[in-house]
Symmetry: C2
Subunit: 127 residues, 2 copies
DNA sequence: AGTTTATTGTTATAAAATAACATTATGTAA
DNA sequence: TTACATAATGTTATTTTATAACAATAAACT
C-alpha cells in the first residue's frame, strides 16, 4: 500500500470528493491556493495516481475520476457508462465483464495488459 | 449511401490509405497542398466522417482510422487493440463482443447508444 | 555523510480542438 | 428561375490539453 506524496494527496482528495470527472485545468485552478501553480505539477500527480490505480482517465472527456472499486489498485481495466444527457459518469464494477474481455483479448492473440471501455447513452434517470 | 464532399473525400482518402491511425495535424500537413489550410476544415470533415461511421477516433491516442468493418455505417460501437510496443492499432470486428456488451449495458439500466473499447498490450508479433 | 532516485518548482512551448464570423455552394419549394 | 433555407467552406484568432527542459529539494539507500 503506497502512500501518497503531498501533491498527490491534494490532487487525489479533490478528485475523490468530486461527484463528477474533473479536468486537469479545473483541478489546477482548485489547488493553486495550496501552492500547486503549474500544469506539470498536476499532470505528474495525475500520472502517478493513474499508475497506482487510484484514479482513472475518461479518455473521451479528458477528465479524471477516483476509482470506485476498492480492490482496484492497479489500473488494469476500466469501464464507464457516460450519460449523454446529464453527463453522469459511472464506473462499472466489472468482474464478469473483465473476465469476458480479457478472455477475448487472449483469444485474439494479444498479450493483454489492460483495457478501457466507455459506454455512451442515457442513464436510468434520463431515459 | 451518403456521398462525400470534396474535403471529406480528401481527408477520408488519406486516413484510409494509412496503415496507422493519423492525428488531425498530421492530416492537415498532408492536405495543405490540396488547399485545406486550417484546423477547422480538418476537424469538420473528421466529425462528419465519424458521424457517417467511415472513420473512428482512437480516444487514447487522439488519432483517426478508417473503419475496417464493411457493414459499419454508423459509428455505434468500436473496439481496438493497441500494441504498446509497435503501436499497431487493429480494429476488432465484433459481432460477439458487441452483442455481449450491448446486453451488458441494457442490464445495467442504461439506454445504450454506443461504446468505445480500447485494449492495450502486446500484439502477436511483439509478444 | 555521500550517492542515487524520486518528487517538486518553474518557464516556456507544443499539440489538440474550437469559437466566431464571412463566404460560397447546394438543395428545395413557390 | 428566383428566393429562401441549409449545409459546407474559408479564415483568423483563441482556447484547451499536455509536455519539454532544466533547476532545486526531498527521500531512500549503503
Amino acid at each position: 500500500m503506497q502512500t501518497l506524496t503531498r501533491n498527490q494527496q491534494i490532487i487525489f482528495d479533490i478528485i475523490n470528493k468530486s461527484s463528477e470527472p474533473l479536468k486537469a485545468y479545473t483541478i489546477l485552478s482548485n489547488v493553486q491556493k495550496k501552492g500547486i501553480k503549474a500544469p506539470p505539477q498536476v499532470y505528474r500527480a495525475l500520472d502517478k495516481l493513474i499508475e497506482m490505480g487510484k484514479i482513472h482517465k475518461i479518455e473521451s472527456k479528458n477528465a479524471f475520476v477516483a476509482c470506485q472499486n476498492s480492490s482496484c489498485n492497479v489500473s488494469k481495466a476500466t469501464a464507464f457508462s457516460i450519460c449523454e444527457s446529464c453527463e453522469e459518469v459511472t464506473e462499472i464494477s466489472n468482474s464478469k465483464i473483465s473476465k469476458y474481455l480479457s478472455n477475448f483479448a487472449e483469444k485474439a492473440g494479444m498479450e493483454y495488459k489492460k483495457y478501457n471501455l466507455e459506454f455512451f447513452g442515457l442513464c436510468k434517470k434520463c431515459k
